[in-house]
């Protein structure tokens, strides 16, 4: 209902909708579940016993939140521009990205490259393995049962729902991230991008294109 309309004046006690017309969201006054309680208990014990501090925990959360797909995009843009780096990335993505200056921690990374003949897509059917140290937190759908179950069974249908229709003759390769390795897809470089700087190229690299559920943006 628009602000200041007659309806508001005649129904002053209608609290189910905000002035913008959207329903109010209920407060989440629900009890903690088992795991939330356990996390708080362990965290408080670690602080109490001097193993870590609240400041250190907050700093670590900040560091996690600061990682974003922009890191992966810089890696892809460099791979598009620098053939030696591209080869190094495919041979040993862990070392290649670490040498580039990214703090990838203990993560072991494999890069897989899309070509006109091959499209790669990454999933973790067992949980939600994702190259967080390079791409940040995974999108919620990546952890959904639907994405995990369907991607290994009908990847082309899943791709179509993401708006990706592959040319006939392109093979799909699904990577089920079952164990110690994490995966990044190097999407195909879009046409008409010759001579672009790495910085400009990186703008074309979307998060989904590095999971394999999307393509790089065209120009």
């Amino acid at each position: 209902m628009p602000i200041g309309s007659k309806g508001c004046q005649t129904m002053p006690h209608d609290h189910t909708h905000s002035p913008s017309g959207h329903p109010y969201r209920k407060d989440d006054d629900v009890p903690l579940n088992y795991w939330q309680t356990l996390e708080i208990a362990v965290r408080e014990l670690l602080i109490e016993k001097g193993v870590t501090t609240a400041t250190e925990i907050a700093a670590q959360i900040d560091a996690m939140d600061a990682r974003s797909p922009a890191n992966g995009a810089a890696v892809v843009a460099r791979a598009w521009s620098d053939p030696a780096f591209y080869d190094q990335l495919l041979a040993d993505a862990t070392t290649a990205t670490r040498d580039m200056g990214f703090d990838i921690g203990p993560m072991k990374l494999i890069a897989v490259a899309n070509t006109p003949q091959l499209h790669n897509i990454v999933v973790c059917t067992l949980c939600s393995c994702y190259p967080r140290n390079l791409l940040g937190l995974p999108p919620d759908w990546y952890k959904s049962r639907a994405y995990r179950a369907r991607t290994v069974k009908e990847p082309r249908k899943v791709l179509a729902e993401f708006g990706v229709t592959l040319p006939a003759g392109t093979q799909v390769r699904v990577h089920d991230s079952t164990a110690d390795m994490r995966y990044i897809v190097i999407p195909q470089r879009p046409a008409q991008t010759d001579g672009m700087s790495q910085q400009t190229l990186a703008q074309l690299v979307t998060r989904d294109s590095m999971i394999g559920t999307g393509l790089a943006k065209t120009v």
Partner: protein, 102 residues
Amino acid sequence: MVRLQVTEWQSGAEVRVKHMMPPGHIRTPSYLRGKTGTIERVLGPFPNPEDLAYGHKAPALPLLRVTFSMREVWGDTAEQPDDTLEAEIYAHWLERVSDDAT
């Protein structure tokens, strides 16, 4: 269980995922059990997560990236039989498929 040597595994070799259903924390997806594929590359050794999950001493095992065809994994219901799937499987879950096997 027989401890397998890293040298027994090489890319290009044909392997079958053992068809077993043990309880506990397992990193071999059930949809791949009993399926035959080809080693794409040899990784590791990595500590066995099936032991790590329970705080046990975890022996380091070779980890193999295995390529399967969708035909092999899903049979007649495959969306596109020539598409492929790759997964990481620990050595103790794999058996060699010998050339003369029937």
